[in-house]
């Protein structure tokens, strides 16, 4: 009798096990199918329009999908923004992480800094965007964009340009790069520091010549992740870059004497171009939007591969 109830309990348990297992396989296969479907859908929809010509011609303001031109200026715009953002954010966040991991020995000030940076990391990008708009439309920052003219009594900066957007992006990626750099610096063994200090090197010398080179993989990973975030952001671009299709500075924008004018004027990036050409934007050209998305995804995949490659080279070093 007891044996019988035992086996039936065992059977019941086996059935619940099987049930739980099949439920999770079911849910996960749905999830994974959706993931693959998204990528395949984008490739199918985007590949028709994609060509070298598409990458190299300027977009044209038209409602006709066949005359819409290419994505050269949005592509350049994304690259410029990434460049400005990283140039500003990288030294800034590297020094912050050096302070947090090398100079502050668990003191309360550093703890407070960490909390502030954590909170900044959680702030939605749209809030950073309106913050950038608010701060850079002050007339003191007029040199970064252009002054509003023709409105009586208004002394205000326009607050929308590549420089403004790049600086706002730098604020957005700052906490992420700090986090990755700090982890990379902390992973450097204490014996490296002790060895260098025992040889008589100063602390700063130890940091620049010993610690940063041995943490370089992690630091580069942080920078590449930051680049991915800047390329993929739309909210900040939409509010602080203006969302015009082409570069609006002096033409042609690629001549060196017009660079400053291009940087202090509006333009577009891949993300804002996709938003503009999607049915939600001003013109409804989904084909072009999909082709733009495909280019964006390819850029993101390249950045991911770089991160993966860096991670691998690091693990090889460790094994040796």
């Amino acid at each position: 009798m007891s044996k019988l109830s035992n086996t039936s309990a065992l059977n019941r348990r086996k059935i619940t096990d099987l049930f739980g297992q099949s439920i999770s396989w079911l849910f996960s296969s749905i999830t994974i199918a959706v993931c693959f479907a998204i990528i395949i859908y984008l490739v199918i929809k985007g590949k028709n329009k994609l060509s070298l010509d598409f990458l190299l011609t300027q977009p044209a303001a038209t409602m006709d999908q066949h005359k819409s031109g290419g994505i050269s200026t949005p592509l350049i715009g994304s690259i410029i923004l990434t460049f400005i953002g990283i140039i500003v954010a990288f030294p800034w966040s590297l020094s912050t992480s050096i302070y947090l991991s090398e100079y502050s020995e668990r003191n309360p000030v550093a703890g407070f800094f960490r909390v502030c940076i954590d909170i900044l990391a959680g702030v939605p990008t749209i809030v950073i965007a309106i913050f950038g708009l608010a701060i850079f439309s002050n007339p003191q920052f007029g040199f970064l964009s252009s002054m509003v003219e023709g409105v009586a009594g208004a002394r205000k900066a326009f607050g929308r340009s590549f420089l403004v957007c790049g600086l706002t992006m730098a604020v957005m990626v700052l906490p992420f790069i700090i986090k990755t750099c700090e982890e990379a610096l902390k992973a450097v063994p204490a014996s490296y520091r002790e060895g260098s200090l025992a040889m008589g090197a100063s602390k700063w010398h130890t940091i620049t010549k010993i610690i940063i080179p041995s943490a370089s993989n992690g630091i580069i990973t942080g920078v590449v992740l930051g680049m991915g975030r800047i390329i993929g952001d739309t909210a900040i671009v939409w509010l602080t870059l203006g969302g015009t299709l082409r570069m609006t500075g002096h033409q042609p924008w690629w001549l060196p004497q017009n660079w400053w004018s291009a940087l202090t004027n509006t333009g577009s990036t891949l993300t804002s171009y996709i938003f503009y050409t999607s049915p939600a934007g001003e013109v409804d050209m989904p084909q072009v939007a999909f082709a733009g998305s495909l280019v964006l995804i390819i850029l993101i995949i390249i950045l991911n591969l770089v991160v993966e490659f860096i991670g691998k080279s690091k693990s090889i070093q460790k094994e040796q």
């Binding site: 348990r13 739980g20 959706v34 800094f113 309106i130 509010l239």
Partner: protein
């Protein structure tokens, strides 16, 4: 002799010491600056929206019809600006879309994480992890585009009937851009985050936990449910909080698919509850940004930013508290 040597060495020594001290100060100032950013964000956003809060008081959080208020402020004469705004509809929209998306994302995300980390064969694991990591880094605009091209037409053609459209035409237009579309897009967007971080948390559980449970005769599934998941709980919770923060702050994708009208969905409407167009706090800022040149509207949008800022701060602090709590408990045990 020795005196000469020290006098020759002293200046060099002090130079490097001075450099050390100066660099330490510079590094400290830059660190203080990055911590100060969040304070500056708070000050600026509060300053820009102070007028809204002083005019509306607490009724800012309890009044609805944000869209009509924007329209009224837009049409108001320049000498008599209208400052009455209320964001109850937007808060409801934010809460409902985030909540719906998180339910889907947690169920599908945690089960997928279990399969990837514990059940799948190694080759499959590698492929799936690469795909999930790629999806976690896809920009939200692309999810918005796919939502607009696939999810919205699907909802329109298969869930909305003509009779429904006629019944609700005096309240809102049923076009497929709806809360349901928002929930679906948002859940697909945050799913990879939940999966990727949960897989990391599950992988961090020591192998000996599993071995002990298996040695005691537990089946593989029981080991996962009773031993591995409880041990990885804090990491999974952290991933869910992070994903919630992303969902609350998502602006572009939701402004594309969720309808852009600040309705409060009514449960009494039956299935139309899910098909109601809604507007969230973050997407309101994007949707109404074209009217930002009006000072009144600009302040109202900054007030939305204040609400978002407070929500995200609470979530960040909550994550810290959870981590500290777990750390302390594990330290005691």
């Amino acid at each position: 002799m020795s005196e000469i040597r020290t006098s020759a060495r002293t200046p060099k020594l002090t130079l490097s010491k001075v450099k050390d001290a100066v660099m330490e100060k510079i590094v400290f100032i830059l660190a203080a600056l990055s911590a100060a950013i969040i304070v500056i964000v708070f000050i600026f956003i509060f300053m820009k929206s102070a007028r809204i809060f002083s005019v509306n008081g607490l009724s800012f959080f309890t009044t609805k019809n944000f869209d009509q208020q924007i329209l009224k402020a837009f049409n108001a004469p320049a000498d008599k600006p209208v400052w009455d705004f209320g964001v109850l509809g937007l808060i409801a929209g934010t809460f409902l879309t985030t909540f719906g998306a998180m339910i889907i994302a947690v169920i599908a995300g945690v089960t997928t994480a279990i399969v990837i980390a514990e059940l799948a064969p190694p080759w499959m694991k590698r492929v799936l992890q690469t795909v999930i990591r790629l999806l976690a880094s896809i920009p939200s605009i692309i999810y918005g585009l796919i939502g607009l091209m696939v999810v919205v037409p699907f909802i329109k053609s298969s869930l909305i009937t003509n009779q429904m459209q006629i019944n609700f035409i005096k309240y809102f237009q049923l076009s497929g851009n709806s809360m349901l579309a928002g929930i679906i897009v948002l859940s697909i967007m945050v799913l990879p985050i939940v999966v990727a971080l949960s897989v990391d948390a599950i992988n961090a559980v020591p192998k000996k936990h599993r071995e002990a449970a298996l040695a005691l005769g537990l089946s593989k599934w029981r080991t996962i449910v009773k031993v591995v998941i409880p041990a990885a709980k804090s990491g999974i919770i952290a991933s869910v909080i992070l994903a919630t923060g992303r969902a609350i702050g998502e602006a572009i994708a939701l402004s594309m698919v969720s309808g852009g009208v600040g309705n409060i969905p009514n449960l009494a409407n039956g299935p139309v509850f899910f098909l109601t167009p809604v507007l969230t706090l973050a997407s309101a800022i994007v949707n109404k940004s074209e009217t930002m040149s009006f000072e009144t509207i600009q302040s109202a949008l900054f007030a939305c930013g204040v609400v978002l800022l407070i929500m995200s701060t609470i979530l960040s602090v909550f994550t810290k508290v959870v981590q500290n709590f777990v750390k302390r408990r594990e330290g005691n045990v």
